[in-house]
Amino acid sequence: MFSSLVALITSAYEQFIYLPLFIEIAIIFIYVAIIATVTAYSVIMYKRWQAYVEEKRLAFISPKIEAMITEQVLLNENLEKIPVDDIEFDQAALNDQAFKHKWVRQAIIDILIQYRRNFRGEVGELLRKLYLDMGLMKEADEKLKNIHWEVQIKALTELTRMDISISDVTILPLTNSQKPELRAAARNAYVQLSKNEPFKFFDIATEPILPWDQLELFKIITTTKDIPIPNFSRWVSYSENKSIVSFCLKLIAHYDQQPAIPAVMGILNNKDHYFRADAINCLGKLSAEIAEPKMLEIYNTQPLNCQLEILKALGRIASGKHLEFLKTEFLYSYNFDIRMHAARSLIKHNTPISRSMVDEIMNTAEDEAKLIIKHCQNPLIK
């Protein structure tokens, strides 16, 4: 049997080597294509089956986990009677054999995280205690040591959600990781978990904070309770990391940090015009009247984006000292965007003088100017 198979293969091979080259290539490709196709269908079937089994398993174990959490945490008789740290769980329930498997432990972690999102106060604290008492933190520690960055992110997310602090030695290097995703997760975790100096990583950050990361970090900073908010002008003045400075400008505006105005004004001399535009925007939001003369002084030497920001800032500050400037820009500029912003800022002042200026324009100016004013005055157009 075996020898006849060998003979068959040998004869096929002998025939094959005498075929023209392109036919040989075609035959090889046919075999490759057939094997790849069959493999692909097998993988599709296997993956769908695997997902089905996983779904079934979770459907079976989830009610059991939820029942345990409800019994041990939500319906715990000692809750609000004795301090959370002194509450003891029923060890038999926690040590159930069903909860020993790795995938079940991961399912418990996922459910606990979900519960932590919904419960604050003592219930939240007790959920945290359950996580620690079940030894689930060990899994996070292992994940943190994993060489794959996506696993490390999982650990950081898990520990942050469970409010378990991570040592600076472990987390600070991660805030400068080459992997942007890991870097962002570490920074987010650091701000949430570090009780004393949540912004320490600003000092050592060599990698940029991407715009999306700024979004996340901004949300965390502005919504995390009891976070000590520093004066962000510190980094505006000294940080060499442009994204940190740009991000701090947004935080300064958000927290209305008036003492930061001189530091922000310092950026008006920066070479980068995007940077200057950010600073002007910040000054406008801070209603920094003190910065108006400087902004006007540099106006004519600025590129369009900075000029528009200056016009916007004058509208936000609305000191009334530069109405003539706004009027001149509106009436005599050749740039549509400048005219639009000047008109908006003029109207935004909403003082008797600015209103009379607008009326005068409406009576004397040409059609396009009138249209712009009407556009800016219309409350339906924002």
């Binding site: 046919i30 790849a36 993988v43 599709i44 769908r48 990698e207 991407l210 999306w212």
Partner: protein, 512 residues
């Protein structure tokens, strides 16, 4: 006759020509299949990278963020009276904090505008704007008096006989830094804006001070996968349940879209060489788009033309750029169900491709344009533009060999099996990547139903594509006037069929 036959057989010149042709075609075909195989590998890497990168992302954080960039949604509409209200309502409910919806009534001859005015309590407003891009005159601009619809702007303009003209009018009014271009009758995922803006926000804007490595690039466009909505359950402009189309023609298109988007676009994304962002769904950098001249209303492939000009603008100004694709299906569009409409659509696409290659010929093989000239255009020229011609030439040559009795049947069959198995493999891999990443279909039956198309495609669907592509080239060469299609939409759910005008621009979206 016999004498001619003998002359042909005995002619050594023809024999040499035949041998040369066979060799060239074999090398060409093998290269094409090799490119597809490489694309399949690249797309797998790209998809896995995307999934890993975004596994722990909480998209919800953008919803209340004051740092979220604004996005203008631009959707031209022509005679969409039957579904316009439902479609606009759907567009107004994106999960995103800062956006406006600009609907362009492109000179509809039905009651599209009246319905919009009544439903959304619109009033005419005096709106100042700068015409940055050419378009037909705008007659009126409307805003709603109801604050619930304060994101909505409706433009009423003279019909421009193309989607491009309507889109340009919308971009002229767009106030935000980014705009999303779509067809008003597409069903979009509620998180479309968040998912498409993320690639723009994932790019570093400065050089790493640690490594000194310059990874800064300006993302100028992003796109996502499109699928057929034909047999899906849709309720109130929302997709409730995804299903592959029941009818054969749209189902073939679904398979083709998966292959083109999941395998093709994602593969090109890995090396920053995405050739096109579909007209059905694409997000663009407004500034660059305007500087590149916006959409060309005379183009038959206006979406690819725009991306080509945007990339070309960036290269000409020595600016680093990226065009990104996400492997998620965010847009569901209705595919043509009749051969007539389908044929018109494909001929138009083929004509568009020929037109783009002709207009932008200076880019072809030109290293000055970087990847655009060396990779994107070279690929498009050899494997998109020439493919139907080479294939048609091959068929004629086969026929010639059969007639003259020169054909070596065993070898011919081996070559046919080679092409067939390889084409089935590529489609199957695309379906596998899709299944590995996102399980849009719930049942086994649906997946198997789609997989079967891969086996039937070479016999039933591909010949149609070939025929209509050649027809498109013929129309391009002869300069025949294009008759805009009359795509009769089936509507979603229990909606009645709607009628459209004769000169309607067919809202078409293309996968590649």
């Amino acid at each position: 006759m016999q004498a001619i036959r003998n002359w042909i057989i005995n002619s050594s010149f023809l024999e040499s020509l035949g041998t040369f042709y066979q060799t060239v075609v074999f090398i060409y075909g093998t290269s094409l299949l090799a490119v597809y195989a490489i694309l399949a590998i690249m797309s797998l890497i790209s998809i896995r990278r995307y999934l890993k990168k975004n596994a722990s992302v909480d998209y919800g954080i953008i919803l209340e963020s004051p740092l979220a960039p604004g996005i203008s949604v631009v959707a031209p509409a022509f005679n969409e009276g039957v579904t316009i209200i439902q479609n606009v309502r759907s567009l107004l409910t994106f999960n995103y904090p800062k956006f406006e919806v600009i609907i362009i009534n492109d000179g509809s001859t039905d009651d599209t505008l009246e319905k919009l005015i009544d439903e959304f309590q619109l009033v005419h407003v005096e709106y100042a704007f700068r015409e940055k891009l050419n378009c037909m005159p705008i007659k009126r601009i409307f805003k709603s008096t109801n604050s619930a619809y304060d994101k909505l702007i409706v433009i009423d303009k003279v019909n421009g006989k193309s989607k491009a003209d309507g889109s340009n009018a919308g971009i002229n009014l767009a106030k935000y830094d980014y705009y999303l271009c779509t067809d008003v009758d597409c069903i979009l995922d509620k998180d479309t804006l968040t998912k498409l803006i993320k690639p723009f926000m994932d790019q570093p804007t400065e050089v790493s001070s640690k490594t000194g490595e310059d990874n800064t690039k300006r993302v100028i466009a992003s796109g996502a996968t499109l699928r057929m909505v034909n047999s899906c359950d849709v309720d109130g402009g929302l997709l409730i349940r995804a299903r592959p189309p029941r009818r054969f023609l749209p189902r073939f298109q679904e398979m083709e879209y998966i292959r083109a988007f999941v395998l093709g676009k994602m593969g090109w994304d890995l090396i920053n060489s995405v050739p096109n962002v579909s007209g059905g769904l694409g997000m663009f950098d407004t500034e660059i788009s305007v500087k590149a001249g916006g959409y060309d209303s005379k183009s038959f492939g206006e979406d690819m033309d725009l991306i080509t000009r945007m990339c070309s603008y960036m290269k000409s100004n020595n600016k680093r750029y990226a065009v990104k694709y996400v492997p998620l299906t965010l847009c569901w569009t209705e595919g043509p169900t009749t051969l007539k409409v389908f044929g018109r659509q494909r001929s138009r696409w083929a004509r568009g491709l020929a037109q783009i290659m002709s207009i932008h010929r200076k880019i072809l093989f030109n290293p000055r344009f970087g990847r655009l000239g060396v990779i994107v255009f070279t690929y498009n020229f050899f494997f998109e533009l020439l493919a139907p011609l080479v294939e048609f030439g091959g068929i004629l040559f086969y026929i010639y060999l059969i007639i003259t009795g020169q054909i070596n049947w065993p070898f011919a069959i081996i070559l046919i099996v080679f092409v067939y198995t390889f084409s089935v493999m590529i489609t199957t891999l695309a379906l596998l990547w899709d299944q590995l990443s996102f399980k849009y279909y719930k049942t086994w039956g649906e997946v198997i139903g789609l997989c079967l198309m891969a086996f039937l495609e070479p016999f039933l669907y591909h010949p149609l594509i070939l025929f209509f592509a050649l027809k498109g080239y013929f129309n391009f060469v002869t300069g025949r006037k294009h008759v805009w299609g009359n795509m009769q939409r089936q509507g979603f759910g229990a909606q009645p069929k709607k009628k459209k005008g004769k000169d309607e621009p067919t809202p078409e979206v293309k996968p590649a």
